[in-house]
């Protein structure tokens, strides 16, 4: 279910931990699998667990505990906006409201064309650069004024 490239990345992660501690690599392995597939189906979670030689339930509990794993399908672009207090004081809530109106969806929803999923984020540790939006977990966009959001949406086609 995973490409040679993904498996190679997982193998590299495994070298970080003692040989008998494969389980430590589960977080990275699930991340790598998610990058390839967009979300983690039960089959994929089981496949990753088998690859690491750990019980599937151990992979499942990690996939369901940490908020950045997508355990159901998401749009092509998952946008997570931080609205926590420090960000709200510098435009985080405004940015989120603008996106809700613009995309016509609420938090936790995906546009009907399957392009965007909008999520409310908790502290990302970059409060000084608010408003902050993370695209597909790995691309952090700072100082997201309305103009910057417009520009970003144009890029994310």
């Amino acid at each position: 279910m995973l490409s040679q490239d993904s498996l190679k990345q997982i193998d590299k992660e495994l070298t970080k931990y003692p040989p008998e501690q494969n389980r430590s690599a589960i977080m990275a392995a699930l991340r790598i699998a998610q990058v390839e597939h967009g979300w983690l189906s039960n089959e994929l979670i089981k496949y990753v667990a088998n690859y690491l030689n750990i019980p599937p339930v151990q992979a499942l509990e990690v996939a369901t505990f940490y908020s950045m794993y997508n355990i159901e399908p998401v749009g092509k672009y998952k946008l997570v906006v931080c609205t926590n207090l420090p960000c709200a004081l510098s435009g985080g809530v405004n940015a989120a409201n603008y996106l809700k109106n613009k995309l016509g969806i609420n938090f936790g929803e995906t546009t009907s064309d399957g392009k965007y999923t909008l999520k409310e984020g908790e502290c990302m540790g970059v409060c000084g650069d608010a408003p902050v939006i993370i695209v597909n977990n790995h691309s952090l966009c700072s100082h997201m004024s309305i103009e910057a959001i417009e520009k970003k949406l144009m890029e994310l086609q």
Binding site: K16, S24, Y69, L85, P86, A88, M124, G125, C127, A130
Partner: protein, 431 residues
């Protein structure tokens, strides 16, 4: 992002230079000379710990525990694997200092961790990096590769018969993993649920082995302390609050950002460095140490100094050094509602008082904010808080209760007005 520095972790770091994080730049700034010093001068583990103790360095993650003392708890002479772990899982609302260290000066942390490994007898270290900053994690991996290639990591470092390997572990979205034993669980590939203490990590840590866990900023200050001596670090601050500290200033100021300043600096001065209040508005409230620290009224804060004792005396905590500044347009009920939601979201669910209590706190504050508050709700919040704080495995429950107690204490009239009039006392604007 503004980084004002008074010469410890960010000394000589030009954050506008896109290569400032690289090994070459770090070495030009005198980097890895502390490691060289301990390996070539034959400094002993005990001498390094003594230097750390004399520096007055206290854990910069929030608890403020003396770092030298923590290192001394490790059974250094014990055979077998030991670990040094860095907590870069920075998710306390308002805190964004460790990210800047990793982004602009990662080798200061790597050098600090190598020295820590040497001191506590650990041959392997892990740096657990906050999930949301993937690009910073990737940069840290690059910095590790540079250090390895240059012979600062791996076998026989600087030909001194000392081995040390360091790896980065990427989190994936869980505030609770900033709690040290939850972090260890997560590093072991499990749900991040805190462990009951004792046993403490120094005796039963990662994979059950003796482990020391320090915050990024604490470890990144170690090279300075070794190079210039513990006393030089202590002298930058004041008694009981040695050294400099990174303050992450956010909210209604003109220049949010990180400020590396001497501990003991008056808050008014820090506010001035951050460009003062945005739009000339009045300061209403400040959370001085991250969202878990009790809020203080602006006028109280203006009389405080930024050190452990001054903030504690005023009734709050220096915590992680996250200074959240709110102006007169903020409704304190609304502000607290958002924080309460956060703790409810992030409770790991292991202990009933926290799992259920955080939900109740949020529900009640939510209904007060939405004009459905009832007489007796403030007493109910108190009552629930009393059943949570100190009754759980970790401090998340306490962290959820502190804001509730302090907001309802200092701004009680706003809560009462909300309950009585079903609306806001102030014309609330987030920004």
């Amino acid at each position: 992002m503004a980084i004002y520095t008074s010469g410890v972790i960010f000394a000589g770091v030009d954050t506008a230079d896109k290569d400032c994080w690289k090994l070459e730049s770090y070495i030009k700034r005198g980097g890895y000379s502390a490691l060289d010093k301990i390996l070539n001068s034959g400094m002993t583990q005990e001498q390094i710990i003594a230097e750390l103790k004399s520096s007055g360095l206290r854990g910069r993650g929030g608890a403020g525990f003396p770092t030298g003392l923590k290192w001394s708890f490790m059974p250094r002479a014990l055979d077998g694997q030991k670990y040094i772990v860095c907590n870069s899982d920075e998710g306390e609302p308002g805190t964004f200092k460790d990210k800047d260290i990793l982004e602009f000066n990662p080798h200061s942390l790597i050098e600090g961790m190598i020295i820590a490994g040497f001191t506590i007898g650990a041959s392997v270290g892990y740096n657990y990096i906050h999930g949301e900053i993937f690009e910073v994690y990737e940069r840290f991996e690059e910095a590790l590769a540079e250090a390895k290639k240059a012979g600062y990591l791996g076998k026989n470092i600087l030909n001194k018969n000392f081995d040390f390997d360091l790896f980065a572990h990427h989190g994936y979205g869980a505030y609770i993993c900033g709690e040290e034993t939850a972090l260890l669980e997560s590093l072991e590939g499990k749900k991040g649920q805190p462990r009951f203490k004792p046993p403490f990590p120094a005796s039963f840590g990662l994979y059950g082995k003796p482990t020391t866990i320090n915050n990024t900023e604490s470890l990144a200050a170690v090279p300075f302390i070794i190079n210039d001596g513990g006393q030089a670090f202590q002298d930058k601050g004041i008694i009981n609050s040695g050294g400099t500290k990174l303050f992450s200033v956010s909210g209604h100021v003109n220049r949010p950002g990180n400020y590396e300043v001497p501990l003991g600096m008056p808050f008014a001065k820090l506010l001035e460095l951050a460009g003062g209040m945005r739009d000339g508005k009045k300061i209403k409230a400040v959370i001085p140490g991250g969202s878990s620290a009790p809020v203080l009224p602006g006028d109280v804060m203006m009389q405080c100094d930024m050190d452990y004792d001054s903030i504690a005396k005023a009734g709050s905590m220096l915590g992680s050094g996250a200074v959240i500044i709110m102006n007169e347009d903020v409704c304190m009920v609304k502000a607290l509602e958002r924080l309460a939601y956060f703790y409810h979201e992030e409770s790991c669910g292991q202990c009933t008082p926290c799992r259920e209590g955080t939900g109740w706190l949020y529900e009640i504050i939510h209904r007060i904010e939405h004009g459905e508050g009832r007489l007796g709700d403030l007493e109910l919040l108190d009552n629930i808080g009393n059943q949570m704080a100190g009754r759980t495995i970790c401090a998340l429950a306490d962290a959820a209760v502190f804001p509730v107690r302090s907001f309802t204490k200092h701004f009680r009239h706003e809560f009462e007005y909300h309950i009585e009039h079903k609306k806001c006392l102030v014309n609330h604007k987030w920004c």
